[in-house]
Symmetry: C2
Subunit: 319 residues, 2 copies
Amino acid sequence: MDFNTSTLKDFEEAHDRIRNHIHRTPILTNATINEMAGCSISFKCENFQKVGAFKARGGMNAILGLSDADKQKGVATHSSGNHAQAVALAAKVAGIKAWIVMPSNAPKVKKDAVKGYGAEVIECEPTIDAREDTLNAVIQENGALLIHPYNDERIIIGQGTATKELIEDAEKDFDYILTPIGGGGLISGAALVSHYLSPNTKVIGGEPEAADDAYRSFKSGQLVKNDGPPKTIADGLLTNLGDKNFEVIKKYVHDIYLVNDAEIMVALRLVWERMKIIIEPSCAVPLAVVLKNKSVFENKNVGIVLSGGNVDLGKIKFD
Amino acid sequence: MDFNTSTLKDFEEAHDRIRNHIHRTPILTNATINEMAGCSISFKCENFQKVGAFKARGGMNAILGLSDADKQKGVATHSSGNHAQAVALAAKVAGIKAWIVMPSNAPKVKKDAVKGYGAEVIECEPTIDAREDTLNAVIQENGALLIHPYNDERIIIGQGTATKELIEDAEKDFDYILTPIGGGGLISGAALVSHYLSPNTKVIGGEPEAADDAYRSFKSGQLVKNDGPPKTIADGLLTNLGDKNFEVIKKYVHDIYLVNDAEIMVALRLVWERMKIIIEPSCAVPLAVVLKNKSVFENKNVGIVLSGGNVDLGKIKFD
């Protein structure tokens, strides 16, 4: 698929493909947070999505869209987290084989969840090189098809269905829609589908200061990477931007804002305390952006995709 | 009102009175928790209720049901937490004056919330004696009417509307409905309304071992108190049972089970991690009861009233 020729129909087909296998998650609002932010925010709750994150959408779209011949080959990926569960769940729904390469230090509960869906877990050393080498070996040995977590049109279109639902269900015209940026799958899907469904909506990305590769790429027009492994509480956003994602972001995203870990934790605590829902730190980034840039969003209709709720509670400490 | 002559009509009138001023909170289910518990659980999410707890219902019913002459007098109560906010909110809705006695060590955020509803906060020393003395002085000086947090028919009927909605909305026949027990307002309302709407449902209370006055009262048939101030993570359940609540519990509650703080924290963590919603420790007690007594609830339809989500995040530590 070429994004220059993609249409709304691609999103509609993806949505029809996955509709019965994902949750149409609720949209929540909170009067206190609106008052604090000075705008009207609709939160699309993908923390309540299957596997606890929007990733279920992309994995489901990529795998259910395979030809019967390709399904026979099975699928493979490497992931320490949500994408692993998304691929395992989608493979289970499709009734096909899945090999998931996971770092040996991934939490046992996550490995067990992947195994619980019937996928085969292959452990490797916890480095990017070991993960990629092991994945390549698995693909070579089994002939499985790679399901990349974000740098893949089928994934981008699948993740975009979250924003499609937000626009369809909120019954208002959004001035802004915000998502976090890691590899770029969520925001590129959001920007594309908004372009078709709600062309006056500006799509904005939020990124942690310590993992600002998308920000620097966007501002310079050249795809750059993070310097070394980034350190931020937003551990779902450590990945470097994919080139396919960057192509969409350059063309359809309005702007990218940075926030630091302290700002992320203020936003996270606000959502936990006021909305009584669990979101992961990565997921708090867009609200942190809104709270930090009140003049930009003042009195506007703002949509935020709450990306996920898979948090290691032992690592979250409040004063 | 005499509970021996109360009818379903009392609950219907209360529900009509408060309906437009409270949330009809959602009922959530979770496949993983059902599998772990070995039964089918419907969670009535009063953590999403106004003021973050079911207490909004009782306060609203008591205050909106006052005669015009009584409304002129204003209302008063003492509370360090949810009931304070419930009375303040209801007084605001009714457009009447409220005096709330709060211990000086109550969190500033809670005092501010009460003041935010327009109620007058009177601070006192953080002892039960000081709270009661101060409240009596406030009532004497202003002629305000006492709104007791649980030992009051109007409060009991109001809290019962949470269980009424659970029974009406769940579209299943419950074998069991469980609530936590503190002063007894929530469970006595639940037991009464279940008796009318779903007479085959057994209503069960959950109580922390360290604050087991309701358990001992229920088992002995004699109303007894906790020995000294109880120490448990379930800080919403420290109160001694009211005599009016005990009257209902003796007659309509099926049984009371005890759980310890470790069991409460396992249940709380399960709800946070799997359902992605914030509940307070007191609120986790009924699920802890179900997980501890699997043979009792095996393959049954179980309703649990999630009582509230007002948690001091700084006090919650996970491994």
